[in-house]
């Protein structure tokens, strides 16, 4: 086996423990045993280790998300070279600043003396943030240097310069404009998105003279969020299925059920993506798990590649409304609506959204002729394919069943699903060996690490908006400016669309729901209906820069520039927006089913 680099070792070990600890907890619960001390907190903090070292691993393999295009893609080699040097040096400086801000946060925690478990202080894990950003800074600064020692020297110098600058000016007011101009140039030159976003968050806090530690504190807050461990664990399950023969088995099943024509394949892809997203919690995980399987199928059915990417990317956002998606549960909790009611309320709107996406997104348009002769739908073959894919078909049942039966918390059910994926593919199908498992762990760590640094920085931005009282001011303005319910609904859709583009969905739920729900209720809108509107529009946020996770995931998965993916999903955005408007204006789509089934 190849040598195990330290970043991969730490990130993979964290991921393995995140899978094992919840399983041990499930096993020990009926025995009334001691269990593992503070297991949920431990798992959440392992998530921090996973995120930081996953990001470092992603940097090493060149998988940190960049905007793509811009100056880095210039035809002149000299411009390209200059852009690269500028981007790397700036990113190193910015990561050095983030290291300083994180260190300020950790230093404030040293006195607090909180213990995680087994005598391990919380700060001992938190310190991975400044350490991680420092390593990232040095590595980014060392990029492209000819000799190793030159790289280390340059990287260390740039990292230290950023670190000292941030430490020196922390707490004083600096003008915003020069920063914004520099950051725009940095982004265009092809620097990692997290560095530019983090830089913007720092610059905004700087402009108010507020402490820089606010940004890493938000990053920490989202990374150790109790619901977050579900994200890497479902991703791991998805990756295991995607890298083993599971993808092919599911593909065969769907071909047998829907036939191989463009219409059948497109419909199957949309349904499969939204269904899968429902239990991966509305993250871009679906793209990773299904992208590699669906894109070739769509291509074979005659769907052009760009439209295929667009379909997979946008359909993967739609499952947010389908039970048991984590955003749905999260909304129910924040808005204090019964979870079962939300589950029922989301069902019909989810179907409406899929229909709108297919019709108005232009996916049903005839493409080129099929490149490969595809078979028609066939019951006997479908049954055989279903039997071959039985373990994969049962996976959603494991995820949802363990939750619904009260055996597991959301995190534990995600761990169970990850373990189920590993065991079925390794033991039942014998398709997962140690080398492949190691690759799945490392890939999962890279994806989650790359996403988490962006998420953390985006939450830092969100926190600035909250800190400056901007959402509050917007709501007061809305109440004064919008005369009626329909005007409010239209404005709500537009506002949520912008919010969804700027904010991560969980942060949006947490921040905006308590602010907007009272306004919506004052316009006579039912909280259940509001939740469905909210999540439906948030689906667009997945597809819209700068915080559109699905675009980042798709860009990574299909190795396409972010800009290209972003342009390809424009028709889908329009379709989803129309669907959201219909759901807004016809409340019965959301409220009818809960009323009929459960009496609300």
């Amino acid at each position: 086996m190849r040598r195990l680099p330290f970043d991969e070792a730490i990130a993979s070990a964290a991921l393995v423990l995140m899978t094992l600890i919840p399983l041990i907890e499930i096993a020990l619960r009926p025995l009334h045993g001691r269990g593992i001390d503070n297991a949920p907190l431990l798992v959440q903090h392992l998530g921090l280790a996973l995120a930081m070292f996953g990001a470092i691993l992603a940097e090493r393999s060149g998988h940190l998300t960049t905007l793509g295009g811009g100056l880095a893609a210039s035809r002149s080699p000299r411009v390209q070279q200059a852009a690269r040097i500028f981007a790397n040096a700036s990113a190193a400086l910015l990561a050095g600043m983030l290291a300083a801000a994180s260190w300020a946060f950790v230093a404030s925690e040293l006195d607090a003396g909180r213990e995680l478990a087994y005598g391990l202080p919380v700060w001992a894990v938190q310190v991975l943030m400044p350490v991680g950003f420092a390593i990232l800074a040095v590595r980014l600064g060392a990029r492209g240097a000819g000799r190793a020692w030159v790289g280390v020297l340059t990287g260390t110098g740039l990292a230290a310069a950023g670190f000292l600058f941030a430490r020196h000016f922390d707490g004083s007011s600096l003008p915003l404009l020069p920063f914004v101009l520099w950051l725009l140039a940095v982004l265009l030159a092809g620097a990692p998105v997290f560095a530019a976003l983090g830089g913007l968050a720092l610059a905004l806090f700087w402009s108010e003279g507020q402490p820089l530690a606010s940004v890493p504190l938000s990053h920490y807050q989202i990374t150790v969020n109790p619901s977050l461990p579900a994200l890497p664990l479902f991703t791991l399950a998805g990756l295991v299925f995607a890298r083993s023969g599971a993808a092919a088995r599911l593909g065969a099943l769907f071909t047998a059920c829907f036939g191989g024509g463009p219409l059948g394949t497109v419909a199957a892809a949309a349904v499969l993506c939204s269904f899968f997203t429902a239990f991966t919690g509305g993250s871009g995980v679906t793209i990773l798990a299904l992208g590699g399987l669906l894109l070739p199928l769509l291509r074979d059915a005659g769907v052009p590649e760009r439209r295929g990417i667009s379909l997979v990317t946008s359909a993967s956002a739609l499952g947010v409304l389908l039970a048991p998606s984590v955003p749905l549960i999260m909304y129910a909790i924040i808005a204090r609506v019964p979870i079962n009611t939300m589950f029922l309320a989301g069902l019909l709107p989810a179907l409406v959204m899929v229909a709108f996406l297919l019709v108005f997104g232009g996916y049903l348009r005839r493409g080129e002729a099929a490149t490969v002769e595809r078979p028609k739908a066939d019951l006997r073959r479908a049954l055989a394919a279903a039997w071959a894919a039985r373990w994969e078909i049962l996976a959603p049942l494991v995820a949802i069943g363990s939750l619904a039966s009260g055996i597991a918390t959301p995190t534990e059910s995600a761990a169970l699903t990850a373990a189920y994926a590993i065991l079925t593919q390794a033991v039942a199908h014998r398709e997962l060996d140690w080398a492949l498992l190691r690759r799945c762990l490392a890939d999962c760590a890279q994806v989650i690490g790359g996403v988490m640094v962006i998420l953390g920085m985006a939450l830092g931005l969100t926190n600035y908006l909250v800190d400056a009282g901007i959402p509050d001011a917007a709501v007061e303005w809305a109440q004064a400016a919008l005369p009626g319910k329909f005007a409010f609904l239209l404005a709500l859709n537009l506002f949520l669309f912008a919010a969804g583009a700027l904010m991560e969905i969980y942060a949006a739920i947490v921040v905006l729901v308590p602010l907007l729900l009272p306004v919506a209720v004052s316009y006579g809108i039912d909280p259940v209906h509001f939740g469905v509107i909210f999540l439906a529009v948030m689906e667009m946020g997945f597809l819209c820069p700068p915080a559109g996770m699905n675009i980042f995931f798709a860009s990574a998965m299909f190795a396409k520039p972010i800009r290209e993916v972003a342009v390809s999903v424009l028709p889908a955005l329009l379709a989803i927006f129309l669907g959201a408007l219909v759901i807004s204006w016809v409340p019965e789509i959301a409220t009818w089913l809960p009323r009929v089934v459960g009496g609300g």
């Binding site: 001691r34 297991a39 949920p40 300020a104 507020q210 129910a332 939750l403 055996i407 918390t409 009272p518």
Partner: protein
């Protein structure tokens, strides 16, 4: 930044607590004068209570209205007021003990860099369960919600034959709906707001423990204020504390009434059953002393309570 007062709270916008904080901010602003600005962040928009304590430490927030969950992040001995079950029989007893301990507690907070402006409370913790239950034994077959962060509490529960299921607060509602837990210790206000009572429709009417809270500001921001602003802030804090205490106690009764109207069943233990509960509490105290509550503080509370009861008799 100097000249700014940023206060966070989990309390909802326009709630009693939020309105009181706005009044405190306004009083401070007019005394601090030119250029002073206050901001109140309701609804937990600056994060949970632990996060708010952190944001105060880094200097992003200057103040926060916290329950014991957040306050013990700053000074652990505060849990004495909340972690000693069935110790207090009435709000009068809580008020008496808190008033006596206040100078010492506030001194401890000051040493940790925080100034206490006001004390408030948010009702008694009661047990909400899916099945009816009145005796301590009735709860032995149930699975209890327990805060994931508190392993000592879980150890104590296990040692007495109870089954704690450590979860995050956000897991309470789905977990009681799916049956992962069957009993939740919570204040009536929380049970109503979180809809827990809709699934766990039985409430045991005992005053298990009071939920107390306080409005604190960082000593750093306190030192930067003008003397006039400090006085105004202190006075406004005292007024707000009184309002929050009297109002919150009324809201508890209103919350129970509202839930009863929607089907909550309230069970009141008879004297014999109450004796069983008190015996359980007696068993708990030695386990709590020195573990969940510093021994010194524990003894002090006990002594104060004895004094109070002796004087009253």
């Amino acid at each position: 930044a100097p000249g700014q007062l940023r206060i966070g709270t989990l309390a909802p916008k326009n709630s009693l607590y939020h309105r009181q904080l706005m009044e405190v901010g306004e009083a401070w602003r007019s005394a601090q004068g030119e250029g002073a600005k206050y901001l109140v962040y309701p609804d937990g928009s600056q994060g949970g209570e632990t996060d708010m304590a952190r944001r105060m430490r880094i200097g992003q927030l200057q103040g926060a209205l916290l329950s014991v969950v957040g306050l013990r992040e700053i000074e652990p001995s505060i849990s004495a007021l909340q972690n000693m079950p069935l110790l207090f029989r009435s709000w009068d007893e809580v008020d008496y003990v808190r008033e006596k301990m206040r100078p010492a507690i506030e001194k401890k907070f000051l040493d940790k860099g925080f100034v206490v402006l006001a004390w408030g409370d948010a009702g008694w913790v009661r047990f909400f369960s899916k099945e009816p239950a009145v005796r301590p034994d009735d709860y032995r077959k149930m699975k209890f919600f327990a805060w994931a962060g508190e392993s000592e509490q879980q150890d104590i529960m296990k040692s007495l034959g109870y089954t704690p299921v450590p979860l995050e607060t956000s897991d309470i509602l789905p977990s009681i709906q799916t049956g992962m837990i069957s009993a939740v210790p919570a204040t009536p206000y929380f049970a109503l707001a979180s809809q827990v009572y809709a699934t766990a429709g039985h409430m045991l009417d005992i005053n298990w423990a009071p939920i107390v809270g306080a409005l604190v500001v960082t000593k750093k921001s306190w030192d930067e204020m003008s003397p006039a602003a400090r006085d105004a802030l202190k006075a406004a804090g005292t007024r707000a504390g009184l309002q929050m205490r009297t109002q919150a106690r009324k809201e508890v009764d209103e919350a129970v009434a509202a839930m009863k109207k929607r089907g909550l069943q309230v069970h009141t233990p008879n004297p014999e059953q109450m004796k069983e509960w008190n015996t359980l509490a007696e068993q708990l105290y030695p386990r709590i002393r020195g573990k969940m509550v510093p021994a010194e503080t524990f003894d002090e509370v006990m002594k104060l309570l004895k004094d109070y009861r002796a004087g009253k008799r």
